[in-house]
């Protein structure tokens, strides 16, 4: 067994496991930075996974699959926005309800769409190798021999950081999430900003789903999001609602998951349940160790009424 290869494999696996989480966490970031709680990430991931698979299945073109998942995710985001922002439904309940509906509908439709051929391998999107750079040991395969969605993720993490802190949209977004009232009196349409943010949130989270079905597994299975949306929320909080922090938190989850799978693979004599819980335990310890005081955007979870004096 080649140690370098093993290690390089490990890094790549960590990244692969982190990618869907990071897309979802990044999605959650837009929504929550605008003050709208997003427990619906799980449902959005699942929707993205299903629509990407279904569209690819019909058309044979994974790019259309990605497009479809973006649209579907955006629509789920729109639904969440209508519920939370316009109808002022409790944001937590809205998210939970969307998760339930998504779980039911995607399974229902999957049985209609895929029928007997549900595990037939879909045409995926292949890796794009960046010549030269890809040959660097360790780093090369990790960073320069990935598929489109991973590059997109790298770009999105940086872009989101830039947008959030260097653009007027980002400034608006942060202001709305911190103090919608102040933002409103400064001439910003709080409702509009929340809508945009939550729709973006749906699009990004569903890209995470598309990654699952078009890159990682290459077919759709019912319930395949398997709690990743919740882990993404944990990562988002852990990363203190910062794009890079959240992405790193996802990477921590990915890395411990990959690690525990490797410990099992190497035949360590530890009951597997303890290994399966490792990522969560490590996250918990890290949170405690870092004295992880993580304050959410101030207006998170509270609907905005323009004509209200005190938020009670």
């Amino acid at each position: 067994m080649n140690n370098l290869n093993f290690f390089s494999d490990y890094l790549i696996a960590s990244l692969r496991l982190a990618v869907p989480l990071a897309f979802a966490a990044l999605g959650g970031l837009y929504s929550e930075r605008s003050g709208v709680l997003n427990i619906a990430l799980e449902g959005m991931l699942l929707t993205g996974a299903f629509t990407a698979a279904a569209a690819t299945f019909y058309t044979g073109n994974p790019w259309l699959g990605i497009l479809a998942s973006l649209i579907a995710g955006g629509l789920v985001g729109l639904l969440h926005a209508v519920l939370c922002v316009t109808l002022r439904v409790d944001q937590l309940v809205s998210g939970l309800a969307i998760n339930l509906v998504a779980a039911g509908l995607t399974s229902f439709l999957a049985r209609l769409v895929f029928g007997g051929s549900s595990t037939q391998q879909l045409p995926g999107i292949g890796a794009i190798t960046i010549p030269g750079l890809a040959n660097i040991p360790l780093i090369g395969p990790l960073l320069f021999q990935q598929d489109f969605l991973v590059y997109l993720l790298f770009i999105l993490v940086i872009l989101t950081t830039y947008i959030l802190f260097k653009t007027s949209f980002g400034l608006t977004l942060r202001a709305v999430g911190e103090s919608p009232k102040a933002a409103g009196t400064a001439g910003i349409s709080v409702t509009f900003v929340c809508y945009i943010a939550v729709v973006i949130s749906g699009c990004l989270a569903s890209l995470g789903g598309a990654y699952l079905t078009l890159v990682q597994v290459r077919f759709f299975a019912e319930g395949m999001s398997a709690g990743k949306g919740f882990i993404a929320i944990a990562a988002l909080i852990f990363g203190r609602w910062h794009p890079i922090g959240s992405a790193l938190a996802c990477l921590l989850f990915g890395a411990t998951e990959a690690l525990q799978l490797r410990i099992q693979a190497l035949g360590a004599n530890i009951p597997y349940q303890f290994l399966v819980m490792l990522p969560y335990a490590i996250a918990l310890l890290a949170l405690v160790g870092l004295a992880g005081k993580s304050t959410p955007p101030k207006a998170l979870g509270t609907p905005y009424f323009a004509e209200n004096h005190h938020s009670d």
């Binding site: 809205s94 309800a97 339930l100 779980a103 509908l105 349940q273 819980m277 405690v288 004295a291 959410p296």
Partner: protein
């Protein structure tokens, strides 16, 4: 004026009815697509969840864990804490009661049952206290810690029932039967409905008194509304949060206890099929009211048990059942929001 008054009266009944009907209509469409008969399905749903003896028994059985867990969420919410960890606390509670049921023998039921319940409460409380402590003393966000502790609890119980606690010869990981004296009696003969629901209702009653009539409830509510003002009034916010989180976890733990002591009589791998998450929806839909929680958990239980029967007896695919449940929650949440809006508007226009 009269019209608005009647409106005010009808609204709380009308709006959930509209919501439920809409969800059922969406469900009917899905059923038709899937080739099932919606009318047959719905009559079964209704009959089996409320109007038949055994169906009602099933509903009560489901209501027990939902009630306990959502009371737990509710208490935490009162103090401004989001306890997403009901699931894990249920597992721990189940474990606690199992240990007493298995390893303490020879007690009369009047002692054994309370002792086992107490153990369940205690185990759940510990699992709730940890995030409470971290939040109060270290400022760690409780949403994430309770969430992470869920996964740890589930795997911990899985390990235990597969190794030290596994019954000999079992083809699947579960513990031996707990002592007869630690089992909750059946309250509707022949059905599955056990005394857990009575304990649940008693707990709801106690909680109501605690929250509405006791100084502790006042203190919890004050901390939930405005921790700064509470601190200025010499209330220990930290202690209150830890106490409430432990209490919240303890209540969820009792949900697990009842599953073990009243339903399965042993510890098993999948103690909760998501009761902890349903509980969050229940508590939020009830808007902090204990009575609301009792009614909403009854509704959720009826839905869950009725939905199971729809699948069994009318061939409705589980996927449709899930979708209907989702739409129910969604539409009820919407109806509550719309109702609130209407109420505010009529109130405002009433005297202009």
């Amino acid at each position: 004026m009269i019209a608005t008054n009647r409106m005010k009266f009808l609204l709380p009944i009308l709006s959930p009815l509209i919501a439920i009907t809409s969800a059922l209509i969406v469900g009917a469409i899905l059923m038709l697509i899937a080739g099932a008969n919606p009318i047959a399905a719905y009559s079964i749903l209704f009959q089996e969840s409320i109007s038949t003896y055994f169906g009602f028994g099933n509903t009560l059985t489901k209501m027990t864990p939902l009630l306990f867990a959502s009371l737990g969420v509710l208490v935490a919410l009162r103090a401004g804490q989001f306890n997403i960890g009901g699931e894990g606390q249920i597992y721990l509670g189940a474990l606690g009661s199992t240990l007493i049921g298995l390893y303490v023998q020879g007690l009369p039921a009047v002692i054994h049952i309370p002792l086992a319940l107490l153990a369940g409460f205690f185990f759940g409380a510990v699992w709730g206290w940890i995030p409470g402590y971290l939040k109060a003393m270290r400022g760690v966000n409780e949403v994430i810690t309770t969430l992470l502790l869920n996964y740890i609890a589930v795997n911990l119980v899985s390990y235990l029932v597969q190794n030290p606690l596994m019954a000999t010869g079992a083809p699947s990981p579960y513990s031996p039967l707990i002592a007869k004296t630690s089992r909750l009696p059946i309250i509707l003969p022949q059905s599955l409905a056990h005394a857990g629901i009575l304990f649940g209702l008693i707990a709801a009653g106690i909680l109501w008194v605690l929250l509405v009539r006791s100084p502790l409830g006042y203190q919890i509510t004050a901390v939930g509304f405005n921790p700064t003002a509470a601190r200025y009034a010499h209330i220990s916010v930290e202690r209150t949060i830890m106490l409430v989180m432990a209490f919240s976890g303890g209540l969820a733990g009792l949900a697990g206890s009842c599953e073990v002591m009243g339903l399965k009589y042993r510890l098993f791998e999948q103690v909760s099929p998501g009761y902890g998450f349903d509980a969050i929806a229940i508590a939020f839909l009830s808007r902090g009211s204990v009575v609301g929680v009792v009614l909403t958990s009854l509704f959720f239980a009826a839905l869950r048990s009725g939905a199971n029967v729809m699948q069994r007896s009318a061939g409705v695919p589980i996927t449709v059942v899930y979708a209907i449940q989702g739409f129910m929650v969604l539409f009820i949440a919407i109806s509550l929001a719309v109702e609130r809006e209407i109420r505010v508007k009529t109130l405002w226009s009433a005297k202009v």
